[in-house]
Amino acid sequence: MVLADAFIQGILMGFLFALISLGLTIIFGVMDIVNFAHGEFLMLGMYTAYCLSISLGVDPLVTLPLCGAVGALLGLVSYYGLVRYLLRGPMVAQLLGTFGLMLFLRYLAVFLWGIDYRMIKKGLLVGKSLTIGPFHLDMTKVVCALLSLVAFTVVSWIIFKTRVGKALRATSINREAASYMGIKTERMNALAWAMGGITVGIAGGLLANFYYIYPMVGLLFVMIAFATVALGGFGSIKGAFFAGILIGILETVFPIIGHLLKTSIIGPQYKMTIVYLAYFLVVVFRPRGLFGWEQ
């Protein structure tokens, strides 16, 4: 019973993690870059939702498209403004650069909005929860889950069915070959960043419905996003999805097991530990993650 509840909660969280990681994995897939600033994109998405819903007095859900737009803009700006140059450097320089971007965005937010905690107080979903039989589910999380599904279907459709998608995949598999085939890889990269931005922006907009908004908030999610993407296999859409859910379940079910076993050694204090441990073990035995490809 408790276990079942934990399981469901876990899956819901999992969908959220998956949604957050989606952008990261798209960007990586196309250009082998881990974007440290991903969490900050999320944070800015949340602020967008907040500011708009306050200033326009509309329901935060309405602002989602705009959050996406802001995310896309952010992605494009950081690609053309920074990442384009980073690509010339080695991996260390790339990490360094996006790490700088992370710090910069975070403290830009501090500068602009100060360090107050903000929270969206009214809105369709805010504070609502859905009761199915014995289970109480946070309405926003349910919607998150649905949207996450939608996002994944749309993205995979774009990538696997459309011509743009083919171009994207070609670029990700072999940059030179792609450019010979007349694909403008520059543009593909930009597109990847835009897509990444959109997804994470929307995720932020949703998150704003039940999460507090704060300049440092990105930090909380970015590590999970990394673990998710890495576990699923860098660049793999499918991987991000299942890894996200797996992690969600792991971190909620694991402590409950401890609770059922009446032991305090297995408890929430280790919920993240278990996630990282899982990642470590998986990659040690499967160095490409669950669905990743050889690099």
């Binding site: 109480h136 929430p268 204090q269």
Partner: protein
């Protein structure tokens, strides 16, 4: 291109140097000015608390250095330190970002370079540890207003005094309160059978502060005959607290006790509400549950939540001084005084009294008077018996308050429910907000 980059970097470096020049040397001390170093978490994850603390300290400074006769407390009349020919106090703020190591370095800077007479701070018990260790090493007095880890005054330091009561006192208050609940002492609630509130579950953030509180709770629960059915240490930086909340709910406790900073406190309330958790008592250990942001962000979801604190605006009903100062504070910063800002105020106030009594800035003299210092209750904005340090440097007259958030037509008030004789409203029991 590359040359340009190199140059611009060079320029930047030089610019840095120039900018920092004045700040490394430290401002030359002006006559008749007493420098107190104040180390707070002004930026980083705890900046919200830091700002609150800073406001409290700055208000106290203003009250001390200028004339506010209407306030009716002695420092308001002083315009500086009388016994030092009205010397003004100057606060030098430093930002430790919650990092013990950084705190220690800043303490050195304040002591050696700024030549401060004494130190104040640091909110985080972990930082207070390193900072007080530095103060001890250099023999500089430090008055701590808001770190509540019991061990701080159990280290036999000679230069460390703490005005605030510590977590043992606070936690004791809680259990006294629960006891009172079973004995019908609580205003507006008739005696509750102990069975009804026997099961306790706590969730404490897993750093210095939380984990030490957890220990105290365990031990007190035994003394007062409650059963701890679930104890959780969690990371305040965790992106979601679903798991923790579930573990709590699963244990079906009557009382949920929290030791949380602001972000996790907010998250807990949100998550537990979504799970329709139904404990009869919800109690928060100050900090997260008491910073204005908590109420501001969560609105009426906090109706009925108890928080231990040391200051509640309602205190004005029983304390004249508090009322006027709170009004002043609200006028200036837009929020009521809180435990954080209030205690910062008192800490500086204490500094003023100490210096005045000592009549000099010589550490030895300060140390001497600190031993027999007594600030009477009516001087304080806190509902304490006054300020009097025992030989460990702990203020023995400090007491805690337990307040309850009560939603009254749109706005949320924090009412006093403990000590029972100070109660300002009927307690809301049982807690039903999240149902």
């Amino acid at each position: 291109m590359k040359k340009g980059l190199f140059l611009s970097l060079l320029v930047l470096a030089v610019a840095m140097g120039l900018l920092m020049g004045p700040f490394t040397g430290g401002v030359p001390a002006k006559a008749k000015e007493i420098k107190i170093g104040v180390i707070y978490p002004l930026s980083g994850a705890f900046a919200a608390a830091g700002r609150d603390l800073r406001n409290g300290a700055e208000l106290a400074l203003d009250v001390l250095n200028n004339r506010y006769p209407e306030l009716g407390i002695s420092i308001a009349k002083w315009e500086g330190i009388p016994s030092l020919k009205g010397a003004k106090i100057k606060l030098i703020f430093a930002d430790h970002r919650g990092e013990p190591g950084r705190g220690a370095d800043l303490a050195k800077r304040l002591i050696m370079d700024e030549k401060v007479v004494g130190l104040m701070g640091c909110y985080h018990s972990s930082v207070t540890k390193t900072v007080s260790a530095v103060a001890e090493r250099y023999g500089v007095p430090m008055i701590n207003g808001s770190s509540t880890s019991p061990v701080l005054t159990k280290r036999g330091f000679k230069w460390f005094w703490r005005t605030t009561p510590h977590d043992e006192t606070f936690t004791k208050d809680l259990f006294e309160f629960l006891k009172g609940l079973t004995e019908g002492k609580v205003r507006g609630v008739k005696a509750v059978p102990k069975e009804e509130i026997k099961r306790i579950a706590y969730a404490c953030e897993n750093t210095e502060w939380g984990s030490s509180v957890a220990k105290v709770i365990e031990q007190m629960a035994k003394e007062y005959g409650f059963d701890v059915v679930k104890g959780i240490l969690y990371s305040a930086k965790s992106p979601d607290l679903t798991t923790e909340s579930q573990a709590l709910v699963a244990a079906k406790p009557d009382c949920m006790l929290f030791t949380s900073y602001i972000s996790d406190a907010i998250l807990f309330v949100r998550t537990l509400k979504s799970m329709k958790a139904s404990p009869k008592v919800v109690w928060g250990q100050d900090a997260g549950f008491e910073i204005p942001d908590f109420r501001a962000t969560l609105g009426k979801d906090v109706h009925g939540i108890l928080t231990r604190t040391v200051f509640i605006p309602k205190v004005v009903k029983v304390k004249k001084a508090a009322g006027k100062i709170n009004a002043l504070f609200k006028k200036r910063y837009g929020t009521d005084l809180t435990g954080a800002s209030g205690r910062a105020f008192v800490a500086l106030q204490t500094w003023a009294h100490v210096l005045n009594a000592a009549g000099s800035t010589d550490p030895k003299a300060i140390q001497k008077v600190a031993k027999e210092l007594f600030i009477p209750a009516e001087e304080l904005i806190m509902p304490w018996g006054g300020v009097k340090f025992d030989k460990t440097g702990q203020n023995v007259l400090g007491t805690g308050l337990i307040g309850q958030y009560q939603a009254k037509g749109g706005k949320v008030e924090l009412e006093i429910v403990y000590p029972f004789d100070l109660a300002t409203a009927d307690m809301v029991y049982p807690f039903t907000t999240w149902k």
